[in-house]
Amino acid sequence: MNASIEKQRHLIDFTLASLARRKTKNLGLLLVYTLLVFVLASVSLYTHALRQEAARVLERSPEIILQRMVAGRHDLIPPGYLERIGRIRGVQTIEGRLWGYYYDPVVKANYTFMAPAAEAVRPGTLTVGPAVARSRGLAPGNTISFRAYSGKLFAFTVAGVLPHASELVSADLVLMGEADFRAFFDYPAGHHTDIALSVANPLEVRTVAAKLAAALPDSRPILREEVLRTYASVFDWREGIVLALLSAAIFAFAILAWEKASGLSAEEKREIGILKAIGWETGDVIKMKLWEGGLVSLTAFLAGFVAAYLQVFRLGAPLFEPVLKGWAVLYPRFELVPAIDGLQVATLFFFTVFPYMAAVLVPIWRTAITDPDSAMRS
């Protein structure tokens, strides 16, 4: 028992001593490998956490949002629709929502203006999202004026700033009273942006949606499950520039690893012949290489994963900010609540560790069975 452990340690000693011979090359490989795991793990951790976050935050959003479509475009809900919906069974509350977009030429940012029904915002005042407050340097009590699309200038007093903790959903919000909203956008009286419905029984949501579509043929119901599904597929593995760029990196690494691991030089082949001649079994040579592949890939995986975790959850994912920010001026500052999916980690492990092991092992297999007398014939 002890001897077999000692034997494995001997094999490790040898494989490490061999690796140490080309220190720069092998350390470079380990570094690139770690970096690759780091980026892949960062993407994986980040998107998973973001999706989890979206799922948990948005699971309390309205069950159904009803949009009206005119010529394939989202249009205002005219008066009378709310009353017509009121007769559908199973609907608990109906609420006409008022919201829209405003482009602020001062900081070249888009805001989401909203007149919340549940929250009374006093006329002439605003509650702004944290990113808006940041970009315009606002604090409660300040005055700010926006030029409406009609050309008129409106001045408001900032009544409050939404809490930083909610930034992920509220960064660009500007909350105002209903009267202010209608006046600012010249919104026709009685019209709404869309309608939010809450349905008590989750099993009835689809039935209600079907009834809505039948009763109001020009409307389009958006179910909460569709919203959640939208976010479940946001940054899906295959999507996005990040991975498109990464695929090049992965490919480059694959070539590098293959070249390094499989391009057994004549020198290495000779060494294996020597080892076999002096009493190593084929199995010993393979085990030795298995240790090499295992140690290198495991170290790279663990170190890369830990670094990725720190980057995403402890340092606020600075690497992804420019990517996610795109051309937008407003970007929420948020700390993701860590969510690590075991299956995702296992997948990452499989796709980073196993190819390398294979690249190390496959060529050795052929070489390791060379006749030991090759050492004598050299």
Binding site: N2, E6, I278, G279, E281, G283, D284, D371, P372, M376
Partner: protein, 263 residues
Amino acid sequence: MNDLPPIPLPAEGVDTGSPPAGGSMPLDGPALGRPGGGAMIELKAIRKAFNQGRPNEFWALNGIDLTIEAKKVTAFQGPSGSGKTTLLTIVGCLARPTSGRVRLAEDDISGLPERFLTGIRRSTFGFVFQQFNLVKGLSALENVMLPAFPTGRPHRELRSHAESLLDRLKLAHRREARVEWLSGGEQQRVAIARALVNDPQVLIADEPTANLDTALSREFMGILESLNAEGRTVILTSHDPLVVESAAVHRVVSMRDGQLVEN
């Protein structure tokens, strides 16, 4: 020829005529657990073909019958291409004969699977190759320890054993040096130390003096003599007169065209 302090060896003495009775030298490594331990090697009708069945088929050995005595120094001599190195690979379990039987101390080993053959090779034979075949980039000490790695011998013990072997071969001061920085003579001594690390009963050397000058060749023969004096069987190939005519060699087997030549 030199002082041998730390190794458990019988007292130095060139007692070539009669090796230590019973040959019960203390082995601290795994050795063939056979009574007597005298590894007599018997070859019967050995034939060896290369590229068999192809147009370039070539019979390197063509019916060899030979008994190699234990605890003696036997030299195969012959021109290059006479098959002496091939015979050495068969004696040393590096290769299997195409036909014929190899018996090692009464056991027929020609039919054994590779795994067992490797085990026998590791514990019974130590090899000193013509080109030394050291693993470049590793230190002398690491090279010496290599053959013992698959045995799982405890590191500390193995290391001190390898150090004492290097010490005995007057290489203690070079043990941390990479082997490619050593001179030819030093490299050969590392190769000898490596061949001895598993305490084999048989030492096999292929053209040991081919890359050495006269002084180093003499030194090598001295080492060989002392190893034989410990009770080890030595088998070597050479066409160097300095070797085959040396008093240390008990028996010279001449070969030509894959067959033994009576002399």
